[in-house]
Amino acid sequence: MGEVILQMKNITKRYPGVLALNDVSINFRKGEVHALLGENGAGKSTLIKVLSGAVTNDEGEIVIDGETYNHMTPATSRKHGVEVIYQEYNLIPSLSVAENVYLGKQMHGLIDKRTMEKETQAIFDRFNIENINPKKLIRDLSPAQQQLVEITKAISKNARILVMDEPTAQLTQSEVEKLYEIIAAMKAQDVAIIYISHRLEELFAVTDCVSIMRDGCYVDTVETKETNRDQLIALMVGRELTNTYRTESLATDEVVLEAMHYEGFRNEDCSFKLYKGEILGVAGLVGAGRTELMRLVYGADKKLGGELILNGQKISINSPKDALEKGIGLIPEDRKVQGCFLNNTIEWNIAISDIKNQTQGGLVSEAKIQKLAQEFKDKLNIKTPSLKQKVRNLSGGNQQKVVLAKVLARKTDIIIFDEPTRGIDVGARYEIYTLMSELVEQGKSIIMISSDMEELIGMSDRVIVMSEGRITGELKREEFSQEAILSLASNE
C-alpha cells in the first residue's frame, strides 16, 4: 500500500439546521481505490465538495502532499491534481471529444486542433479505449462513451487524486469491465482513487478499502477483502436490515394484461403477458428498448402496431391519460426529467395526476390535497419537515417516493416501474421493495424494468429479457440466474 497522499482531518461543515459533516477524518493513499459508502444525505458529496474547494469547511484541515490547508479552493485543489468526475456530466455537447478533453486547460495563443486530437487519441490508446473518435461531437456519443471522455479529461490533467461519483450508473456490463481496467491502470500509476457507488458488488470488484459514513459522521474504514455485504449494509444503515426480497410468489394464472405484436421506432414484434399479482421483471442491456416498449404500452409514445388486451378485452391506449383511466400507471426512469415538478411543492406533485378527484364543487381543494399528501407521506415514509417543501430540496430517495406517490394516488391496478431504485440509497431501496410486495399482496400487478441483477432476481416472479428492441426470452423463477439473463440480453 502506498503512502498517504491526502488526509482529511476533523472536517466539520454546518448548514442552517443541519450538520452536514461532523468531525470526519479519513486518510487516502496513493495507488489505492478507496470507496466512500453511505446513504443519500450521509455527507459523501459534501466531503468531496470540501476536497474540491466547492464548499468551505467550518472546522478541520486538509493535508495534501504534506501541505496543510484550513480549507481548499478550486485553485489549490487543482494544483494538487484533484479531479472530480460528477454524476452529471460536465461536457459541452456541441464541442468535439478532443475540445472537451482540453477544455479549461491552460493554452496559449491559437488553438491547435490537431495536437489536441492527437494527444486525446494517445490517452485513449494508453487505456485501450476503442471506438471513440476524438473529432466526434459529444452529443453524438452514447452516455457510456461520454463517461469515458470524462475520465479521459481527468487523466489528461494528470490527476493524482481522482474522485468518481457513481461512475457506472449509465454503463452496461461490458463498459463497466472497461472502467475497471482503466481504474486498474490508474492505480498502477499511483493515482489515489475515491470511488462513490451505491452498488455494493462494484465495491467488492474494484476497491481496496471502504469508508462508511452515516448522517454526516465517519463510521469506520474496513478492508474490502475482510468485509462482506451484510456488514457494510449494517454499518451504513446503522441497523440490521432483514432481507426484504420476496420468497413466495403471489402470481395467479389470471392474465390482466397482454401486449401483442407491439411495434415502435425501437421495438419489433414484442408480445408479453402480465398475470394478476405478479411482478414481471424486464431485463436487458441499456438501449435494449425496454423503456421504449413500456412507453408504447402506456401511450406515452405512438405505437406503429400492436394490440393490447386488458382483463380479456381489447382496448386502445393513445395517451397516458387513456392508460391511467384504464388502470395502468407508469413510474418513469428519470425522476428529475420525467417524474417531478421540481419547483412545486411535495403536495402539489403528489396531487397532480389525480387532481380531478381532489376537487370540491369543481374547484381544486387544498384541504383534500393536504389529506392525500399526508396519507402518502406516512405510507411511504417521505422524510420532510413540511409538505409545502419544494421537491427540488429533497434527496434522491425522497424525490423518488414523491414520484411513486404521484402515480399510486391514481390507484391503478397495473403499475410499471422503470428502474425504481436507480441512484437510491439502501434504506430507501428496501422501503420501495417492501412497497412493491405490499402492492402485489393487494392484488395489483407490477412490471419492473431493472438493470440491477440482484433486484431482478430477488423481486421478480418472472423475467422477460429484451435485446435490440425484441423480447429474446422469458425465465421462470426457478430458471433465474445472472448468466441466463445476460446470455439472453446479449442475444448470444
Binding site: 442552517p16 391511467l324 418513469p332 397532480i352
Partner: protein
C-alpha cells in the same frame, strides 16, 4: 424563531414588488404632489387597463412555458379588422366586437397550432407570426387611420360608472377571473404543470398540446379584448397602435415574478408589474422627464429587479456563512 424570520423574509421576497410600487408612489408624490391626486391615480389605471388585460394573457402563456412575441401585432390586426367592420362595413358594435374576438382567438390558436404541429418553441413561432401579423395589419389598413367609431363602441373605452371608468372595471374583472382560473381550477393547475415540466405532465396524463393550444386561444381572446379597450378609448385605429404591448407586457411579467422558463408566477404579480410600469411613465412625466429618458429608467428598473433577486440570495448565503463561522 428561525422559522418565523424565514417566513417574514419569504413574504418580503414574494411581495417585494408591491413595496417597490408603493415606494415609487411615495417618491413621485414627494416630487410632484399632483401624482397622488386620486384623479391622477385613477387615470393611471384607466390608461393601463388595456395593457393589464393583455399582460394577463402574456402571463398565462409564460406560465405555460411559452413566449408570445406577436402580441402587439396581433392586437394591431384585431384593431384594424374591427375598425373596418365598424367604419367601412358599418356593422353593429356587438358584431364588430364578436369579429374582433374571433380574430384574436383564431390568431392565438394559429400560434399554438403551429408550435404544436412542428414541436417548436412558441418564441420561434411567434417571431415568425409577429412579422406575418404586422404585414397583415398594414395590408388590411393600407397604412390608413380609421376614425368615427359609433358612440356605443367609444363608450367602452371612454365611459364611466360613477368615478370609475369602464376600462378599470373590465381589467378588474379580467384579473379576478384569471387569478381564480390559475389558482383554483384543474385547468389552471394543468397550465402550471405543462410549464413546469412538459414531459412529467405528459406522463401524468395531461394532454400537453391541448393545454398549450387552449392557453394560446384564451390569451388571443384577451389580446382582442385589450385592443377593444385600446382603440375605443383612443377613438381611432392605426396599424402601429398597441405594437409595443409585446415587450412591455413581457417586462411587466418578469417584474412581477412570472418565470421565463415557465411553471411559476401569478396573475397578481403580472398586475403589479403593469402598475409599476404605469406609475413610472406617469410619475416621470409629472417630474418632467421625456419619453426617451423614461425608457432608460424602465430598462434600468428591470435589470435592478432581476439583479436584486440574485443579490438577495447571495446576501443570504453570506449571512449564513458568517453565522456558521461564529458558531
Amino acid at each position: 424563531m428561525e422559522n418565523n424570520s424565514n417566513k417574514v423574509a419569504a413574504f418580503f421576497k414574494n411581495e417585494m414588488m408591491i413595496f417597490v410600487l408603493i415606494a415609487l408612489c411615495v417618491v413621485f408624490g414627494i416630487i410632484n404632489p399632483v401624482f397622488l391626486d386620486p384623479k391622477n391615480l385613477l387615470n393611471i389605471c384607466t390608461q393601463n387597463a388595456y395593457f393589464i388585460i393583455a399582460t394577463t394573457g402574456i402571463a398565462m402563456i409564460m406560465i405555460s412555458g411559452g413566449t408570445d412575441l406577436s402580441v402587439g401585432n396581433m392586437m394591431s390586426v384585431v384593431g384594424i379588422v374591427m375598425a373596418l367592420s365598424l367604419t367601412v362595413a358599418y356593422l353593429p358594435t356587438p358584431v364588430a366586437i364578436l369579429i374582433g374576438v374571433i380574430v384574436g382567438v383564431g390568431l392565438g390558436m394559429f400560434n399554438g397550432f403551429i408550435a404544436n404541429l412542428f414541436n417548436i418553441h412558441p418564441m420561434i413561432v411567434t417571431l415568425a407570426t409577429m412579422t406575418m401579423f404586422s404585414g397583415l395589419s398594414y395590408t388590411l389598413s393600407n397604412s390608413q387611420s380609421f376614425f368615427d367609431f359609433p358612440e356605443d363602441f367609444i363608450g367602452i373605452g371612454q365611459g364611466y360608472v360613477g368615478p370609475i371608468s369602464i376600462p378599470i372595471i373590465l381589467f378588474i374583472i379580467v384579473v379576478v377571473i384569471f387569478s381564480f382560473i390559475m389558482s383554483k381550477t384543474v385547468f389552471g393547475r394543468f397550465i402550471y404543470a405543462v410549464g413546469g415540466n412538459p414531459e412529467a405532465a405528459h406522463l401524468a396524463g395531461i394532454k400537453v398540446k391541448k393545454i398549450k393550444l387552449m392557453v394560446f386561444a384564451i390569451a388571443g381572446g384577451l389580446f382582442a379584448l385589450a385592443d377593444i379597450v385600446l382603440i375605443s378609448r383612443a377613438g381611432s385605429a392605426k396599424s402601429d397602435m398597441g405594437v409595443s404591448t409585446t415587450f412591455d407586457g413581457i417586462t411587466a411579467c418578469v417584474l412581477g415574478g412570472v418565470s421565463f422558463i415557465g411553471g411559476e408566477g401569478k396573475i397578481r404579480g403580472a398586475l403589479v408589474g403593469c402598475l409599476i410600469l404605469g406609475v413610472l411613465s406617469n410619475g416621470m412625466q409629472l417630474a418632467g422627464m421625456g419619453v426617451y429618458a423614461q425608457n432608460i429608467v424602465k430598462g434600468a428598473i428591470l435589470i435592478a429587479s432581476i439583479g436584486m433577486d440574485t443579490i438577495q440570495r447571495n446576501a443570504k448565503l453570506k449571512v449564513k456563512k458568517t453565522k456558521a463561522a461564529a458558531a
